[in-house]
Symmetry: C2
Subunit: 123 residues, 2 copies
DNA sequence: TTGTTATTTCGACAAATAACGAAATATAAG
DNA sequence: CTTATATTTCGTTATTTGTCGAAATAACAA
């Protein structure tokens, strides 16, 4: 029950659902998610931790960058089923389409530049 | 997105998942759910309202009794998918098995007597 | 009618959660 | 080594959520 509840709680937040919708496209680093979601980096980091603890998302560190991707085949059955549900339910959602369009633009910039922009934004 | 979020939030509570596990067996009235879940009637009523607003559960009033059952075929696709996910994910869960065993005993009593017992319990 | 009873609504409170910015950590670059 | 930068952790605050009991509602019974 604990595992299942970790999954359903992880799915019970709009911004985490949006993050999953973005990861459908491809693996993303934190600053790319931050750019599209429009939240503080610390907030997005926390969201990704929650998704990771529910095993919905895998994490990979490459130098300074943290990359996130949807859980793969080896994940528990509930995780797989949950991701399939989200994928299908999110498909007709407008917000998801807008997010993926925004992501397309973000992906045109190299991640380094993206982070620099965010740093500038604070000024 | 609002509809999807209503569903995922509705699923993000242990007692509501337990209620769905019980309704898998058959339609139940509030006092039967109260008996198995061991919560105040007002609390269970509130939980059922949340499940109903997410369209996961249908409500039927028969005299003084309120009956609840899982959403049927006519429900939106997300609802159907969510219930299928919960059903599968809940299947191996111990708590679900214990709840269904407890329900079996509760169902041996007529609902009237059950409610009277609960009333007595307050003394 | 009057009383009983099943359920819902309301008000209060405690606990959990999401958000931010600042500080800490870790790694690359100079 | 020192600086810059990407991410995480921490402390705080505002909001949401789960719970209960009391009161209100609705429907049957006497």
């Amino acid at each position: 029950m604990r595992d299942l509840l970790a999954i359903t709680k992880a799915l019970a937040d709009e911004n985490r659902l949006r993050a999953l919708g973005l990861l459908e496209q491809r693996e993303l680093c934190l600053c790319q998610l931050v750019e599209v979601l429009g939240l503080a980096a610390s907030t997005v980091s926390r969201h990704m931790t929650i998704l990771h603890q529910a095993r919905l998302v895998e994490t990979r560190k490459a130098g300074r960058w943290a990359y996130f991707r949807l859980a793969d085949e080896e994940a528990p059955a509930e995780v797989h089923a949950a991701l399939a549900f989200v994928r299908a339910a999110l498909h007709p959602v407008k917000q998801r389409k807008a997010d993926q369009a925004a992501l397309k633009l973000v992906l045109k910039l190299p991640p380094e530049e993206l982070c620099r922009q965010q740093a500038n934004c604070k000024c």
